[in-house]
């Protein structure tokens, strides 16, 4: 009974502390003020684990078709390039201003992500389809078919190898 009382008091104290932090306004939500290292690490690890778990059973189709590259290229240019950049564009208003900073998909994935090509493809599919809360990444699955999202995944896979000229041809509108 005594232990239960202590637990109840601790819970009340915890709740009161959380409410004080929430409503006092001391948490800075400005995007130009980065998280502390520990908060950043906690959020990043949580995000990565969530994506990995949610995407683990997704079946990856053949991503080597030229038609997929053409379909995905046009969508990438209009939906993604302003934040995730492209060959010949190293920064933009969005890539500088968003926090957390969107990954530069024009750079080889080995420098910012881990896993096999297949794991990466299914994780990219999941992120494009469902988006990421409070990050600026929209859920494109609400307005785009799985086929179009896979086309974007196929294009993103080849993106780090493209020259600006190749990118221009592949992403141009017919």
């Amino acid at each position: 009974m005594k232990a239960l009382k202590i637990l109840l008091i601790l819970l009340l104290l915890g709740g009161a502390s959380a409410a004080t932090v929430m409503y006092s306004g001391i948490v800075n939500v400005a995007a130009d003020e980065p998280h502390s290292d520990i908060v950043y690490w906690l959020l990043e690890e949580t995000r990565e684990a969530s994506i990995k778990k949610s995407a683990q059973h997704i079946k990856v189709p053949d991503l080597e078709s030229p038609e997929l590259l053409l379909m995905g290229g046009a969508d990438y240019e209009y939906m993604c390039s302003s934040c995730h950049l492209k060959p010949g564009l190293e920064e933009s208003d969005m890539s500088i201003g968003l926090y957390p900073q969107p990954p530069n998909l024009g750079i080889s994935h080995e420098t910012h992500q881990h896993g096999t090509d297949e794991e990466l493809a299914r994780q990219n599919f999941w992120v494009i389809k469902h988006g990421i809360k409070a990050s600026g990444m929209p859920a494109w699955g609400k307005t785009h078919s799985d086929e179009r999202i896979w086309a974007m995944v196929a294009f993103i896979k080849r993106l780090p190898t493209l020259t600006p000229e190749q990118y221009q041809v592949l992403t141009a509108i017919d």
Binding site: P66, S92, D93, R158, Q168, V169, A172
Partner: protein, 113 residues
Amino acid sequence: MKTNFIKTVGKIALILVPAITLSMNASAHDPKMHAKKAEKADCSKMDHSKMDMKDPVAVAMMKKCMKQSKSSMEKMDHSKMKEMDHSKMKGMDHSKMEKKENKKANSDDHQNH
């Protein structure tokens, strides 16, 4: 009457000047970044000799450029080309031109029946 007019102009200026100043600040960054124009594929820089036709990127580029050149040919209004002076067209490579008239003639001669 005149005083009223001056007062009205003064009030309008009082509203307009800060409004214009604020809107100029809002568009201070490079507007080109936001002007997404539908660009056509620039196929002039493609070097076919360096292209690996087993590479999906090269195949996709070829398909895009072929589709684009085909659609631009279709958009040409041939009916308005009666008064073309062919003697002034020294650079034309006739070997690369599609002979539509001959094809039409062939389709009309009922040889397939």
